[in-house]
Subunit: 441 residues, 2 copies
Amino acid sequence: MPAMHRLSKIFQPVLVVPKNAVIKHQDVTSKSQRLMVEQGLIRQAGNGTFYILPMLQRSLQKTIALVDSHMQRYAEAEKLTLPTLMSADLWRKSGRLDSAGPELMKTIDRHEKVQILGPTHEESVTALLAAISPVSYRQFPLRVYQITTKFRDEMKPRFGLMRAKEFLMKDMYTFDVGTKEAHETYELVNEAYRRFFDALGVPYVKVSGDSGLMGGSISHEYHFLSEVGEDQLVHCNACGMSFNQEKLTSKSKCEQCHSESIARQTGIEIAHAFILEDKYSKALGAKYLNQTGKPAVLQMGCYGIGITRLIAASIEVLSSEQDIRWPLPIAPFKVCLIPPKKGSKEEPGAGPWLEKMLDEMDRLPALRSDVVVDDRTSLTIGKRLMDARKTGFPVVVVISSKATNVGNELFEVFNMQQGTQVVLGFNETLSEVKRICDSHT
Amino acid sequence: MPAMHRLSKIFQPVLVVPKNAVIKHQDVTSKSQRLMVEQGLIRQAGNGTFYILPMLQRSLQKTIALVDSHMQRYAEAEKLTLPTLMSADLWRKSGRLDSAGPELMKTIDRHEKVQILGPTHEESVTALLAAISPVSYRQFPLRVYQITTKFRDEMKPRFGLMRAKEFLMKDMYTFDVGTKEAHETYELVNEAYRRFFDALGVPYVKVSGDSGLMGGSISHEYHFLSEVGEDQLVHCNACGMSFNQEKLTSKSKCEQCHSESIARQTGIEIAHAFILEDKYSKALGAKYLNQTGKPAVLQMGCYGIGITRLIAASIEVLSSEQDIRWPLPIAPFKVCLIPPKKGSKEEPGAGPWLEKMLDEMDRLPALRSDVVVDDRTSLTIGKRLMDARKTGFPVVVVISSKATNVGNELFEVFNMQQGTQVVLGFNETLSEVKRICDSHT
């Protein structure tokens, strides 16, 4: 039998909240946060800090892999790691030490030097380029990114992983020799983002954004639409453009075409793209040698995706009040198998099908190591099916008394994404599971 | 043609150090640090902080994957993420707020609360168990681990990634219902460590260690032997046991068998295992319900591997003064292909073999996406071979004039680990490359 993931072995401390309980310190401010705590995916540790528990960690690893493949393949970017601790001097040079305000977390080392806990790394990566400056124009474009923990001393952390004091972010930085080239990079990375969000499968809107603290000129934001979103978005029904309201000077008409036929929405910002121009490269001295051998300042862009926020926001958007739903590519497991209850009269006949089904699924690359068995066989099938529905495994296969009819064994296949259910023979069950899982990759 | 990694596209800012140059702030205190800076694997950012550049990032990802597979498969542990920021109150409860001393980095949040930047997470994980306490004895053993950035305000950061202020560490925490069970877990995890280090292939010694700040009773350390090691180790020639000298009360004889035939060595500590007993679980209230339904305190263990240190220490131990050598499983690429120089007389005949070789290597799972082409074809084969030797790709295949002899095309295969070189036909080249790469996995 192939290596098997057993649900009973997964540390998933489900929270049973007594009715009318007063939950202190665990201020649940969104549906996704409540569902993730109840289902043992996260636990609050402190004000704005969380434990990411094993079931969610699997989803996190898948999300990181999905981001990696898209950034490397479509944005032609290289992964690296920039240090978390940065000298405050660097932030003074860029002018952001003061402007970043009280959200900036600091630590003072034993030599009395102030170190910033990185909330974003424009200064750090630009200092790296400055340290090797000037290099030949032939070395550009350069596109690098990291996926690391970022820190922000939020005034009011809320919505669980959506607005936490520490969070995982993908931040990419690009360097080009001119503004034309920087805009080509901007198009390329935004196209990689489009591919990423299409692969993820959660509906999103791309809006013209506010450059705010970052400096620079052009920016776009990517939002999931949700009532707990903190951004006010405006969609113009006439020209089809969307904007973050912060960017608009008028509240009643479209910036672009002056139409007054506009729709308002609220969004959760999950990604952002900026053209930074030379704000950081000029301040920190990141240069290249142009074709005539003269030093010139590099043109930059930066591109973020909130990794932990993305997962929480996906759950917020897709789930019902009771049941978690995941984007299929980042569900902790794609398939949950429920074998018969121990000691039940169907166990002798139906039980052996579990091993056969696992064997076959292990042969399919799309499913290998993505199948979990709910081996809590002291519980009824019904109870375990209810739990599987809550946790939100995209496909659940039940091996019940229907599998005991020799020569006509049948299995129940639940497509949790669609809310549909079919009863099929063994081979058809495998095809259907594969079809559901492939439909999204 | 399969997706190809091109050396010219990899951001690897090689440092050319002028002779007699005064290098400020980049205090190079070990061979591995110098080689890693010279070869564009790392750059120093601040005092004890580093940029991990793309070539090393690949090695880092491989190391993480190797640790993950061993911890999950052999130590039966689950991966999660504990928060970096921890309330100082937690450390006060365990008694370590003061004892940890000035190495503990702190930040004060906007509500004047002191937060610790985690150097290790006994308090954090125990608080998690306390929050869900008491759970049934049936839920144990529980073994969880994370691979995250840790912080330590070193008095004197040195040896590059070997003693840095921030570093990547794998830290595992185990919970058992009794001391017997905790010792069984200890054996299991140490056995998983043995398998991990055997797979890595760098010679190591396991010694009886000092429990120091951690508390608890039994501990073992894993060391690579090196003259830049900071630990004094003692090996007894009589009974075969090894000890960290810190643990010994006598300097002249073996603790175990009282023999005076002892050998002294210096080691770089790269992993540590501790039995913690109930030091943290008692202080923080992490309990379980025993078979009679009564609450009892959990028995703990903790198990660390310094991920970034391990990579640097491997390079320290395996490399010559000029050339980096990697443990094969974590080399950034296993194979480097060197095609002929552009415009050379062998290019028309030898060049097409590059694509054929890439195609065949792409069919081998052990090599797929682990082959890099040195496409800097404006350089001679000799210059590129010298660079490949310095960077330390385990296998280098040169496609030279020998490949132009129609019907008897030959290729040079360099086994950099062994320092050997053979000239082989096309199919034999593939077999030899595969043999070298398989010999270690």
